[in-house]
């Protein structure tokens, strides 16, 4: 299966989405990411029982923080699929990219430029 997905996405592999912490998500934004999404296994199918459920909670927490500090809570999202669903992986990538295009770039980029000027 050779599927294309937007080349702007940088994939970070983790052994289980349960490994992803709120801090990892925030750091990505601090470093200038426009959006972050986590793709985990289907809920109920986690090899480690609740890794993907933890990930969902952390995504929610990160979203709340990003909202509170004015970066925007919609820039982070949790997706789930089974390992056989490559087409879905590509679909999620497209969906998220569209969403981020709509929201525009990470506001910190502009702020950084302004401060440097």
């Amino acid at each position: 299966m050779r599927l294309n997905y937007p080349g702007t996405i940088r994939v970070v592999r983790v052994p289980c989405t349960g490994k992803v912490d709120v801090l990892h998500i925030l750091r990505a934004f601090e470093k200038g990411a426009d959006g972050v999404y986590i793709v985990g296994c289907l809920e109920g199918d986690c090899r480690f029982e609740n890794g993907n459920l933890r990930a969902r909670k952390r995504v929610e927490q990160a979203g709340e923080i990003l909202k509170a500090i004015g970066i925007g809570g919609d820039r982070v999202k949790m997706y789930n699929l089974s390992s056989g669903e490559g087409t879905k992986f590509a679909e999620f990538a497209v969906e998220m990219t569209e969403k981020i295009k709509e929201l525009g770039p990470n506001p910190l980029k502009k702020a950084k430029e302004k401060m440097a000027a």
Binding site: D21, V22, L23, L26, R27, F29, E30, I65, A68, I69, G70, I71, P107, L108, A111, K112, K114, M115
Partner: protein
């Protein structure tokens, strides 16, 4: 342990918004266990504040450190050589740590980063509940190991009251009646005779009602 809860980030921003160099100090003890003020929470808060200030176009330097404890001189002393670099400290320790920091570093503004709630247990991940109010004269030996001071809404010493219904307290149907718990456990232990004994009026002077308290132990003083 001492259980604390996170403060809303908006409230924290409001406290520290006028400073240019900020130190966020976590504590490795109770607040780490209750996931409110440990190294991880320090990191998250620091990252969030950095982004907030940058987005506002403000240049604010934020450093992070997590001490073993903030309620003992020796650990707080670790900040001695660097504290003057900072305009303010945001402490994620319980109120005890925040105050000890303020006492020690008199010229540095110190702000609390958590809400300190009570002395309690981890019932399950993410659920903490109160168990002790430090009354200064523990009576758990008479009450089957269940504390009526912290767990009975009326702090009754000879309960239950008339509001106890189906094992629940009248103030909240999800709250166990402490006295029901006491009776159940005494029954289980075959010690219901203890229940027949009237507990005399408690000397509340050792509790917070008697003013700020202090323990002085000549046997261990240097």
């Amino acid at each position: 342990m001492i259980v604390a809860d996170k403060k809303p980030i908006e409230e924290i921003i409001d406290m520290v918004k006028d400073f240019k160099k900020l130190l966020i100090v976590g504590c490795n003890e109770c607040v780490t266990v209750c996931e409110a003020g440990g190294k991880k929470e320090v990191g998250i808060l620091a990252s969030a504040l950095r982004m907030y200030f940058m987005n506002e176009g403000k240049k604010v330097d934020i450093d992070e450190i997590t001490l073993e404890r903030q309620c003992d001189h020796e650990y707080l002393e670790e900040l001695r050589n660097n504290i003057d670099q900072y305009d303010a400290v945001l402490s994620l320790a319980c109120g005890v740590g925040v105050q000890f920091m303020a006492e020690k570093y008199f010229g540095t503004p110190v702000f609390p980063g958590v809400n300190t709630c009570f002395m309690g247990v981890t019932e399950e991940r993410g659920v903490w509940s109160e168990r002790c109010q430090g009354c200064g004269q523990c009576m758990l030996g008479k009450t089957a190991g269940i504390c009526p001071i912290s767990r009975c809404a009326k702090r009754l010493l000879n309960g239950p009251c008339g509001g106890s219904t189906k094992g629940k307290c009248e103030i909240n149907k999800d709250l166990d009646c402490a006295w029901q718990l006491i009776i159940d456990r005494l029954k289980e232990l075959g010690r219901l005779d203890d229940y027949e004994e009237i507990i005399p009026i408690k000397d509340w002077s050792t509790e917070r009602a008697g003013g700020p308290r202090k323990v002085v132990r000549e046997d261990v003083r240097l």
